[in-house]
């Protein structure tokens, strides 16, 4: 637990970087500091490991005032990941990762063995151990940066805009990787970013800071999206916060239509019977393979059993794992207006139309409003594993 208590940072020229900030950063979770440039988020992060000393206030880690601890020992007890990785260009990947263990006096073999273990953990090929940073891509360098920060197994990880310099696809990969690693290790992570989407993707709790280093709101991402504290937060969240909020609603309780899903070997008469109960419209049916996996859409009247005539179904969503946002997205993109729901092994569970999903959204909103009225304390230790989609 990192407790930031009434901390300010004023510079000699009168600029106030951080203004009387108080935050409780719980263990085993990712706390994101987000805000526009000049909001003091990096300054706050750097005050935790004393790269910057606060002008007033105290920061405690597990009850201990950081000011009273020897500075280098304090820093070695916290992993630090920086934008562009900041790797030591003159050292091999393995030795980069082994830096802090070596500083802590581990033997060379032990430090390198640990470094090799971490390369695997962050998804780096072990052939890269002897390479130099310039031989790696930006995304790979950033993985090395994360591995280096984790090398001495510190309970705290400080991350300063670690993924802002890589392209969006690589960034997504790194974010998912970070969530996976966090699911395994459960560190107290403080993550600085100016990207609200990134904050919402990875944060268990998000502190929104405004210019001049004042805290605007400190809340869980779904709460932030559904009830921003003021205009500044709302504006910073962007225009589509309603849609984005759907990322936090599960598809588990979605009502699925199974009556219009047929295996490819089903009797044509049966299909016609089943669909004739409805108004004789051109409502398409979903045809699946014998293994239960989706094949495509067809008009029941025109169905002749030839898989080649099927209309492609596009993408499916996995019930329970994907959010209502994904389900809605699939429905909007579907040629029939219906999203295909599958289970973990890709077998069709049913289909859901846009109206069904809209109803599920309304129901979820009502449930949400009933169980957590505004102002309710968010649990101090949210579950460490977090779905990314």
């Amino acid at each position: 637990m990192i407790a930031i208590e009434d901390v300010s940072k004023r510079y000699a020229d009168g600029t106030v970087a951080v203004d009387r900030l108080s935050l409780q950063i719980p263990n085993h979770s990712i706390t994101v500091l987000v805000g526009p440039s000049g909001c003091g988020k990096t300054t706050t992060l750097r005050m935790i490991n004393r790269m910057i000393e606060p002008s007033s206030g105290t920061i405690r880690v597990d009850g201990q005032d950081v000011q009273r601890q020897p500075v280098n020992a304090l820093r070695r007890s916290m992993g630090y990941v920086i934008q562009n990785a900041g790797l030591f260009q003159h050292r091999t990947i393995l030795d980069n990762i082994a830096t802090v263990p070596r500083l802590l006096g581990w033997s060379k073999q032990r430090a390198r063995a640990r470094a090799a273990e971490l390369m695997e953990r962050v998804g780096l090929d072990k052939d890269m151990a002897r390479r130099y940073p310039y031989q790696l891509s930006g995304g790979q360098q950033q993985r090395v940066g994360v591995a280096r920060a984790l090398a001495a197994d510190p309970p705290i990880l400080l991350m300063d805009e670690p993924f802002s310099a890589v392209d969006p696809v690589v960034r997504r990969g790194l974010q998912e990787e970070l969530l996976r690693i966090q699911g395994e290790l459960g560190k107290a992570i403080v993550f600085v970013t100016h990207d609200m989407d990134e904050a919402i993707t990875i944060g268990d709790r998000i502190a929104v800071l405004r210019k001049g280093g004042r805290l605007a709101q400190f809340a869980a991402p779904d709460e932030l999206l559904s009830s921003p504290a003021d205009e500044f937060v709302e504006e910073f969240l962007g225009g589509d916060r309603g849609i984005r909020g759907l990322s936090f609603l599960s598809t588990r309780d979605l009502e699925l239509d199974r009556s219009r899903v047929f295996p490819i070997d089903a009797d044509r008469q049966r299909i016609a019977r089943a669909t004739s109960a409805r108004p004789a419209d051109a409502q398409p049916v979903l045809v699946t393979g014998i293994d239960g996996k989706p094949l495509g859409w067809t008009d029941p009247a025109a169905w002749n059993g030839d898989a080649g005539t099927l209309t492609p179904y596009g993408q499916s969503f996995e019930v329970g794992r994907d959010s209502l946002r994904v389900a809605l997205d699939r429905a909007v993109l579907s040629p029939t207006g219906h999203a295909v729901a599958v289970d973990g092994s890709g077998r069709v569970l049913g289909i859901a139309g846009q109206e069904t999903i809209a109803a599920a959204i309304r129901a979820a909103r009502q449930r949400h409003a009933a169980t957590s009225p505004q102002g309710t304390e968010y649990p101090q230790d949210p579950p460490p594993v977090k779905a990314t989609r």
Binding site: N49, M51, G86, L87, H90, T99, G145
Partner: protein, 247 residues
């Protein structure tokens, strides 16, 4: 006794002896200058306002003619090698201090921040992070300093035959043997080239982490990146490389 390598006996030295004296008088000052410029350079990086006056001072020293230095120094160090080497050492600072400063400043901001954040103390950070990364800039400086020092030693001939190979120039006049002058010039040039090549080689050995800049080395890197790692065998690429970043 009129051949290219026949050295008049009044120089009291063989050809090889002259070369060894020459290298000594040229390179010891550069080495001392280098050792001096390490702390001076670091200080100039840490205390920003110090750099302009230091730079100014080294430039002014560089502008003092060596003869003037000799006149002053002879009172203290006599007609010795030391009288030649002290000015050479001070001259080398004009190149070496900026190259150390540039080298340390070439360390990326995030590398410094990462080193600090990992709890690497100031001295360790200088010796284990900043200096190794500064090696290319420092060696670029050393190359200029060494070449200029090797050519400057010759003026030592003006104070009691302390010019090593330069002494051949005065002797050539004395005995009217132009071939001795030619010997002096050619040997000095060859020495400068050899020392330069050695420095380039040292740079290559010290910086396996540098991205290769010429096409041949790039192909080697691609091969090693694609296949199993092979030792870098392209030592010839070093001498054929394009001019280094000057300091």
């Amino acid at each position: 006794m009129n051949g290219f390598f026949d050295i008049p006996s009044d120089l009291q030295s063989s050809y090889l002896g002259l070369i060894s004296t020459h290298l000594q008088e040229a390179l010891i000052p550069v080495l001392v200058g280098f050792l001096l410029s390490l702390p001076i350079g670091l200080l100039c990086v840490r205390v920003r306002w110090l750099y302009p006056p230091v730079l100014w001072t080294t430039t002014v020293i560089y502008a003092i003619p060596s003869l003037a230095f000799f006149v002053v120094l002879i009172d203290y160090t006599g007609l010795s090698k030391l009288t030649v080497m002290i000015p050479l050492c001070l001259y080398s600072l004009v190149v070496l201090v900026p190259s150390v400063v540039d080298g340390i400043r070439s360390v990326p901001e995030e590398t410094n921040a990462a080193a600090q954040a990992m709890g690497i103390g100031l001295v360790r950070r200088y010796l284990q992070v900043q200096l190794p990364i500064a090696v290319p800039a420092i060696i670029a400086g050393l190359r200029v300093a060494a070449a200029s020092s090797i050519s400057l030693v010759s003026v030592g001939a003006l104070i009691g035959n302390q010019g090593a190979l330069g002494n051949l120039l005065t002797t050539a006049l004395l005995y009217q043997r132009p071939v001795l002058a030619l010997n002096s010039v050619v040997t000095t040039a060859v020495l400068a080239v050899l020392v330069d090549a050695l420095l380039v080689l040292a740079r290559r050995l010290l910086t396996p982490w540098m991205p290769p800049s010429d096409s041949k080395a790039r192909r080697t890197a691609l091969r090693t990146a694609a296949g199993p790692t092979a030792p870098d065998t392209s030592t010839t690429a070093g001498t054929a490389r394009a001019p280094e970043r000057a300091s």
